[in-house]
Amino acid sequence: MKTLRIVLLGLALPLVPYQLLRAQAPAALTARDRIEINQLAARYAFALDTRANDGIAFAELFAPDGEFVGVRGSAKGRDQLAELARSGIITAKKPDVGVSHFGMNHVIEPAAGGAVGKEYLVMVDIAEGGKPGGDFSSIGGHYEDAYVKTANGWRFKRRQFIPMKSLAPLPESATVPSITRPAAAFAPVTAAGGGQLTADDYLAIRALAHTYAYGLDTGAGKGSLYASVFTEDAEFHGPPAVPGGKPFDAKGREALRQFALVDRGSAYVRHFMTNHLIEPSPEGARGKVYLLVIDIAQSNKPTSVNMGGHYEDVYVKTAAGWRIKTRHFFRSKSAQTLKAEADAAAGASPAK
């Protein structure tokens, strides 16, 4: 067995490769390219968590000269990558149920030589040591990737893990407003005159939700990245984020941009999106997407879930591509909580 070359790295890793590739002349990506890259990222988690095929499954996700760069070390080439997977990137212990790396918010862009991408990561300890349930680990952040198309399909040219870090003070409470009116029961809208969506449509709409998270978390471009996923006249409604606060009723890109003004840096991750359900509609498309606001461990505070819920969206196809026309956020509430709220509201109503 070859000895893995471990290179100690500081937390402030250079982001040059990702940014450099992204800035160079990009080639277009087909829907199949994007799907295959998305599948590559999914296989990464399985290969790492199961350590399948003695680490070879993980190594084969990379190009022959592919490289993984982590906080504690790096590995390049098939042998080193396989050894890295065998020995475990974070811990030598294999996850008990073979599940730990949850990747979300995967964005993919064409770039010189192939493509680049980013993906959020939160690690979860599931039933470790026979303990019921699971716990979020202290590990979270995002990957910055370069992909290359080889004779065997898309592969990682480089994958670098960037641990969560905020340049600005962390928020104490939820940053996403919630609304308390009942969410709509999901009903297919195709019968109402919606057309068909192509694979490219689905992928573009999915990317909106992910870019939304990157824009909100990083504050990139003084909120302009966040605002860019909306139409010029988009609406995002809701009651106060905190009890007694001002009702939330933003309309227009400029008003929305105000929500993402804080520059937390590119390493800050908090809004984890998944379960993006998309259907054609008369407007273009409608969708729902789950959200977990996860505060990754920092300053001796363990990782915790700040809040969870779902968005309900209307998307339209503009000259610049798909955009969010309306977005509502709903915090998760059980049927029992809704009934208790309804009963309390009825009790509080003045007698007629």
Partner: protein, 169 residues
């Protein structure tokens, strides 16, 4: 009655992790990008169907084929539309505002039946005003078939799960 014992072997044959791209073998039709997306949407609809209990549980049941089956570590095999709808209806907390099943890392491969897949799951109890916790986590292993109504789950195996934090739904 349990049908199709042949699907049991899929876990051994098709989920041998190779890491590399799965080249379609003889008798296996390549999946189109839209096939991948529709299968991903199917798995997502599963989560909404279970959490919302929409359409009296049939939104959940209808992500399966009419003879589709779900087998889990904690639950007996459930097969058929009515039995599956009852499972969704039994989620006492379910409603359109309830979110609990978060899925990620959906890996899909073409197969002789249509497609197979595996997907991570974490069931998170997260409700306003209450502490959050992970109820259970693990992964599903699936067999998908394309029906006249679109892609459906033929079999979902949830035996690769941890132990739930507390019993019950």
């Amino acid at each position: 009655m349990r049908k199709g014992l042949t699907v049991v072997v899929f876990g051994v044959c098709l989920f041998t992790a190779t890491g590399g791209a799965q080249q379609p073998a003889g008798g296996v039709t390549e999946l189109t990008p839209l096939d991948y997306i529709e299968i991903q949407q199917l798995a997502i609809r599963y989560a909404y169907g279970l959490d919302s209990t929409a359409d009296n549980g049939y939104m959940y049941a209808d992500v399966f084929t009419s003879d589709g089956e779900f087998v889990g570590r904690q639950v007996p095999l459930t097969q058929g539309r009515e039995a599956l709808a009852r499972v969704a209806r039994s989620v006492r907390k379910g409603n359109p505002m309830y979110v609990r099943h978060f899925i990620a890392n959906h890996e899909i491969h073409p197969s002789p039946e249509g497609a197979t897949g595996k997907v991570y799951l974490m069931v998170v109890d997260v409700e306003e005003g209450q502490p959050s916790s992970i109820y259970i986590g693990g992964r599903y292993e699936d067999v998908y078939v394309k029906t006249p109504q679109g892609w459906r789950i033929k079999r979902r195996d949830a035996r690769n799960m941890g132990t739930p934090r507390n019993p019950g739904l």
